[in-house]
């Protein structure tokens, strides 16, 4: 485990700086449940963004349903704007295999044909299994495949990273 991982808040600052020049009134933010949604809220606050926002739960689009079944806590996706011809900034906490990104793209296309989708992630940890790369990245890491990094949130100290090694 990297000893001095930057704080999520400092990485959101870095991400905000990268994204800011690309935000136009035609843009919309789309956060993937749950980490991507926290990042979306933080970015909107930092950049004082007044553009539409959506929340995606990709449970119904996962490619491992037949192996692991339905996720126990699915949330409804909520997209309160027309996806058709929209420029979308897709937000996730960690980019790993790329399978979540694949599911999110399929979900968005079931709502319409966007003009463009850009991907912003807090951490790109390597280990891709599908041909995706992010347009905006807060931090690049090369973690071993059995190492797991996730973003968590609690009331006392806000956003923080949790590292786990798979058994």
């Amino acid at each position: 485990m990297p000893a001095n991982l930057p704080s999520p808040d400092s990485l959101i600052d870095a991400l905000a700086e990268q994204i800011a020049p690309h935000i136009t009134p035609e843009c919309a933010l789309v956060g993937i449940h749950t980490g991507g949604v926290w990042i979306m809220e933080a970015l909107a606050e930092r950049l004082k963004l007044d553009i539409p926002r959506a929340v995606l739960d990709i449970a119904f689009y996962r490619d491992d349903f037949s192996r692991i079944g339905l996720h126990p806590q699915t949330k409804p996706s909520h997209i309160p704007f027309e996806v058709e011809d929209r420029r979308i900034l897709l937000l996730d906490d960690v980019l790993f295999t790329g399978r979540t990104t694949r599911a999110a793209l399929n979900l968005l296309f079931d709502y319409g044909r966007p003009a463009a989708i850009r991907l912003a992630v807090l951490v790109d940890r390597g280990g891709r299994e599908l041909p995706f790369c992010a347009d905006f990245v807060g931090l690049r890491l090369e973690l071993p495949a059995d190492e797991h990094i996730s973003l968590q949130k609690n009331d006392s100290d806000g956003l923080h990273f949790v590292m786990k090694r798979k058994a």
Binding site: R67, I68, P76, F109
Partner: protein, 325 residues
């Protein structure tokens, strides 16, 4: 072997045959999952389906006619991207003498993944569930007077949607309880989910003799049974299941047991009115109530699709063995 044939050894839903004996945890999981499926039918979506059951074959086997129930199962399956085959058996092989299990064995050989079964005989879906291959799930879409679990679940979804919770509800189930599989499923679900006061309101001739054992309060007068309830769950008068003369006439039934605006005034002002359909207007329910402000009957139909999607996807995922990541 798990004690409850509806659950896997690790407690996941394997078949849905009856709500009796299902833990509150499972009922709540179905209702919560259904809530996420509501949005799949939303207008804002170009494609009103999700790919969850892509490549799965679902067989609607109806030994007894029911256009509405069959259609809502069919829509639910299609919104999950499954392939659906509809079979009305009373019109085909059964009349040629094929047994129930032979019919099912033949359909299994056609690579079915799920059977949705409607049958006039109580226990038909239980029998099928005992004999299918391990990867096949069975949903009871109504068996005799016994159970209609997805109707019971969609009624619970509707109640929770409008009333928020069960722990403070007073609910009246009104009408032909004797012949109603819907009433049995509703009673089991309501008691499991912690509804403190479930009433049944019916003439003595339309109540099962052992109804009190189900944990309900029995009323024989609308004027008493409807007082201060939060929801009125009407039942259809099952003319086709009546043998002999349990009732004087439809007009007489309406006079005493039909839900009119005047009788509804006895319930709480914010009470909702539900009905599983199809309605006999002017028999068990007045049109002014059925189409009135307190009626949520059409919402029940909409919620029914999401609830059936939830049941199907939980069943289809129950065979999964890997760990959740």
């Amino acid at each position: 072997m798990s004690a409850n044939p509806q659950l896997t050894e690790d407690g996941r839903l394997r078949h849905l045959l009856t709500l009796e004996g299902l833990p509150a945890r499972i009922l709540t999981q179905i209702l919560d999952t259904a809530a996420s499926f509501i949005a799949v039918s939303a207008q804002e979506r170009d494609v009103k389906k999700v790919p969850l059951l892509r490549g799965k074959a679902i067989f609607n086997i109806f030994f007894e006619n029911s256009t509405r129930t069959r259609t809502t199962f069919e829509i639910a399956a299609k919104r999950l991207s499954a392939d659906v085959v509809n079979l009305n058996i009373n019109a085909s092989s059964q009349s040629k003498g094929e047994t129930l299990l032979d019919t099912v064995a033949n359909l299994s050989a056609m690579q079915a993944d799920m059977f949705i079964v409607r049958h006039a005989a109580a226990g038909a879906s239980h029998l099928i569930a005992r004999h299918v291959a391990p990867h096949i799930s069975v949903i009871n879409a109504g068996d005799g007077r016994c159970a209609h679990p997805t109707q019971g679940l969609l009624d619970m979804y509707t109640l929770r949607h409008y009333k928020g919770a069960f722990h403070n509800l007073r609910v009246a189930i009104v009408g032909d309880v004797l012949h109603s599989r819907v009433a049995r499923s509703q009673i089991h679900a309501l008691t499991t989910l912690g509804c403190p006061e479930v009433r049944v309101v019916a003439p003595r001739t339309l109540l099962p003799r052992d109804v009190q054992n189900l944990g309900v309060h029995v009323f024989h007068k609308m004027s008493e049974g409807l007082r201060d309830v939060d929801a009125v769950l009407m039942l259809r008068l099952q003319n086709e299941r009546m043998r002999g003369s349990r009732l004087p006439s439809a007009g007489e039934y309406y006079k005493h047991w039909g839900l009119t605006p005047d009788k509804l005034k006895l319930a709480r002002p914010d009470a909702i009115v539900m009905h599983p359909g199809p309605m006999n207007r002017g028999v068990e329910i007045d049109s002014a109530v059925a189409d009135g402000m307190q009626s949520v009957i059409l919402s029940q139909v909409t919620f029914g699709i999401a609830v059936r999607m939830a049941v199907m996807s939980l069943l289809a995922g129950a065979g999964a063995t890997g760990a959740q990541t």
